[in-house]
């Protein structure tokens, strides 16, 4: 195999290479090194794989891992399904379509921390607007963020509300690229609207689906800010995810341990997302 000669001289890539090396490559390599040390910011001591062993011994870690997967899969699935449905609605030529598209995208632009704080006020068990409203209907609302069985799912709902706009916009672009000829042909063949949706829209918006699933899955796996703003992983450890477990180790001053956690998170995302993208891409060729 002969390497294709680049049309640019090497000095041309130098600025980019310097930036890439100092800001990305060097820290990545350093983090692999620090994950093998006991590091208190002032001194480092090489301890081999001890941090990794310790991290997997963390009693909250298993809970955090399971929660991470639940969080990523549920938010990703909800954003994909709702995003597609909303995109269909918002491309159907309904009244004030442009304004409605803006409104659905609006939460994406708002600061995640702001959204988290707002919703934790709204979801307060006794004084929050949600439970106050339910109480006027005679319903005793649950502790959305304080009930250990519910906390993670309450955050999932907020995450979907906040993120579905992006999925919708991607799908709107995807739908716009489907040629109207397909629908016309389907109509002539007497297809119902339902059939058109499942037989034309869904398969032909596959590229958009790949983008939405991949983006939202990666986002879900490394999700941290919303969870931290709403529950800090609590009550107890019941809404902890991998990223919040790592952050707590960092806060406690176990810098080597938290770096090991980050390496694990990096590998986990790779393990889930790479095969997924490969699978999606193969399907695309089949299509």
């Amino acid at each position: 195999m002969v390497a294709r000669k680049s049309p640019y001289p090497y000095w041309f890539v130098l600025p980019a290479a310097v930036v890439f090396t100092t800001l990305f490559l060097a820290p990545t390599i350093a983090s692999f090194w620090f994950s093998l040390t006991r590091w208190d910011l002032f001194t480092t001591q090489f301890i081999g794989l001890e941090n990794y062993k310790q991290f997997f011994r963390e009693p909250f870690l298993i809970k955090g891992l399971i929660n991470t997967v639940i969080y990523a899969v549920t938010t990703s699935a909800a954003k994909t399904v709702l995003g597609l449905l909303l995109a269909v609605l918002l491309t159907s030529g309904i009244w004030a379509q442009g304004a409605l598209r803006t409104i659905i995208f609006f939460p994406v632009l708002v600061s995640t921390i702001g959204v988290g704080i707002t919703f934790s006020v709204l979801m307060h068990p006794t004084r929050g607007l949600i439970n106050v409203a339910l109480a006027t209907l005679g319903i005793h609302g649950p502790g959305w963020l304080t009930d250990p069985a519910l906390a993670l799912y309450s955050i999932v709902v907020v995450d979907v509300w906040k993120g579905v706009g992006l999925a919708t916009v991607i799908y709107i672009a995807g739908l716009a690229s489907i040629s109207p000829d397909y629908y016309e042909a389907a109509r002539i063949d007497g297809a119902t609207r339902r059939q058109m949706f499942f037989r034309v829209t869904v398969p032909l918006s596959k590229p958009a689906t790949v983008t939405v699933v991949t983006l939202s899955l990666i986002g879900g796996l490394r999700s941290f800010d919303l969870i931290w703003a709403m529950t800090k992983g609590g009550p107890g450890f019941s809404s902890d995810v991998l990223a919040s477990v790592i952050y707590k180790q960092y806060q406690a001053g176990f810098y080597g341990l938290s770096t090991a956690g980050n390496v694990i998170l990096f590998l986990l995302i790779g393990l889930i997302v790479l095969p997924l993208t490969a699978w999606f891409n193969r399907k695309e060729i089949d299509l």
């Binding site: 006794t126 004084r127 304080t146 250990p148 107890g236 707590k248 806060q251």
Partner: protein, 424 residues
């Protein structure tokens, strides 16, 4: 002629800039956002600036809790710390590598006046004092609403059984017996940490053996009791309905205004009442966490935070002079007047006569021999970061007391290993 004129101008400019450099020193200082810290610092810095008009302060405020730990550690490690900073004494201080990062203050003239109990918790392994007390010593215990107690004819409890009985009567009267505020997670640990005096009176060697990895919370009945207490009060349904979301401020409000009868906390909460509910200051009393035996009961004490001097401070000498003033009897009495919420640790430094009710409830513990002792974190460097979450789990009914104690035993291992303690 022209030369001379330039010469004069240059000379006077030099003179000006030289005098400016002598005249104005801006000391950088980092303190936390607690109202008591701010009041203490205002009291001493104002007096000091009046005496030394050339010194001004550039105050930076930081968060408390583990977020604050993080800020302090990162700033020290990167050399970005202001000249002076406030931070905990005891085990958290030891985790800062004080020999390398914090300046030695043992040659400060006023250091001789610092009480030995405090010197111990701000001395690095080389035995040199590196911090001066900032604020009063605190007690860990239970605030109670005196109006509710008077109304129901209750007496402050001497034993844990009395305490439970009081709670039951309060609950039966249709009131919230015990405020819990898991929205501010650290508040969940008080029943465990502030029970330490009772632990130590039953197991005198607990702290030493704990550091040496010979005793554990889960297998020492006296130590396990703190976790069991959380479980007991949670199961009995004494808590406010929003205990999972309420915050420290809510807790202080509840016990001050009579929304709840009890609130376990550290006595620095008195500053919160002074600031937010000054009219209720005399309605709030205080007692130590009761144990099994009234005769052996006493108060678990938290040493105040300290002011430290960064080893890389820009204005080392000027900052030392300021710290010398803060640690003097005069400086201390200014703080005692501003924040009279507990005894001060400088020799001869007296509290004003008219202290809040909760403080006069607390002082007898300090004044009676053998009725007060430091919390575990001042006797042992072993402290796990997850105790607050674990205590929340017990209070929320996710985990049993026994399991929780075992989990905490596991949690402290990391800290012990990081500190390189023998036997871990």
């Amino acid at each position: 002629m022209r030369m001379t004129r330039y010469g004069i101008v240059a000379a006077s400019m030099l003179g000006l800039s030289a005098s400016a450099a002598w005249a104005d020193v801006t000391l950088g200082i980092m303190i936390d956002t607690n109202p008591e810290s701010i009041a203490s610092f205002d009291a001493v810095s104002k007096a000091y600036s009046e005496k030394h008009p050339d010194v001004t302060f550039d105050v930076e405020q930081r968060a408390g809790g583990s977020e604050g730990d993080n800020i302090v550690k990162t700033r020290l490690a990167t050399g970005e710390m202001p000249d002076i900073f406030q931070y905990n004494s005891g085990s958290l201080f030891q985790a800062l590598k004080p020999e390398q990062t914090i300046a030695d203050l043992s040659d400060l003239p006023s250091a001789a006046g610092i009480l030995d109990t405090f010197k111990k918790v701000v001395s690095a392994s080389d035995g040199h004092v590196r911090g001066i007390p900032f604020g009063p010593a605190m007690g860990g215990g239970i605030f109670y609403n005196r109006k509710i107690y008077a109304e129901l004819g209750l007496q402050p409890p001497k034993t844990w059984a009395d305490f439970i009985a009081n709670n039951q009567k309060i609950k039966a009267a249709g009131k919230v017996a015990l405020a819990q505020t898991y929205g501010t997670t650290w508040t969940s640990q008080i029943f465990v940490l502030a029970d330490f005096f009772n632990v130590q009176s039953e197991v005198p060697n607990f702290a030493t053996d704990y550091t040496a990895n010979k005793v554990k919370y889960a297998t020492t009945p006296a130590a396990l009791r703190g976790f069991e207490h959380v479980e007991e009060v949670a199961k009995a349904g004494f808590f406010n309905e929003d205990f999972g979301a309420a915050t420290f401020d809510d807790g202080m409000r509840m016990v001050s205004t009579g929304e709840a009868a009890h609130y376990p906390s550290l006595t620095f909460g008195i500053g919160n009442i002074q600031q937010n509910f000054p009219d209720n200051l005399q309605d709030v009393g205080f007692f130590a966490v009761p144990g099994n035996d009234a005769a052996k009961n006493g108060l678990t004490i938290w040493m105040p935070a300290a002011l430290y001097l960064s080893a890389k401070a820009e204005h080392l000498e000027e900052a030392k002079k300021f710290l010398d003033f803060v640690a003097s009897k005069e400086g201390c009495e200014l703080m005692a007047k501003a924040v009279p919420s507990g005894p001060y640790l400088i020799k001869g430094c007296e509290l004003p006569k008219d202290v809040p009710q909760a403080v006069s409830d607390m002082l007898p513990y300090f004044e009676t021999e053998g009725r007060a002792g430091p919390a575990l974190e001042f006797l042992s460097p072993v402290k796990g970061p997850a105790l607050e979450q674990i205590a929340v789990e017990v209070g929320t009914g996710i985990r049993s007391a026994k399991d929780a104690a075992a989990l905490y035993d596991q949690d402290v291992e990391k800290q012990a290993k990081q500190l390189g303690l023998p036997n871990w």
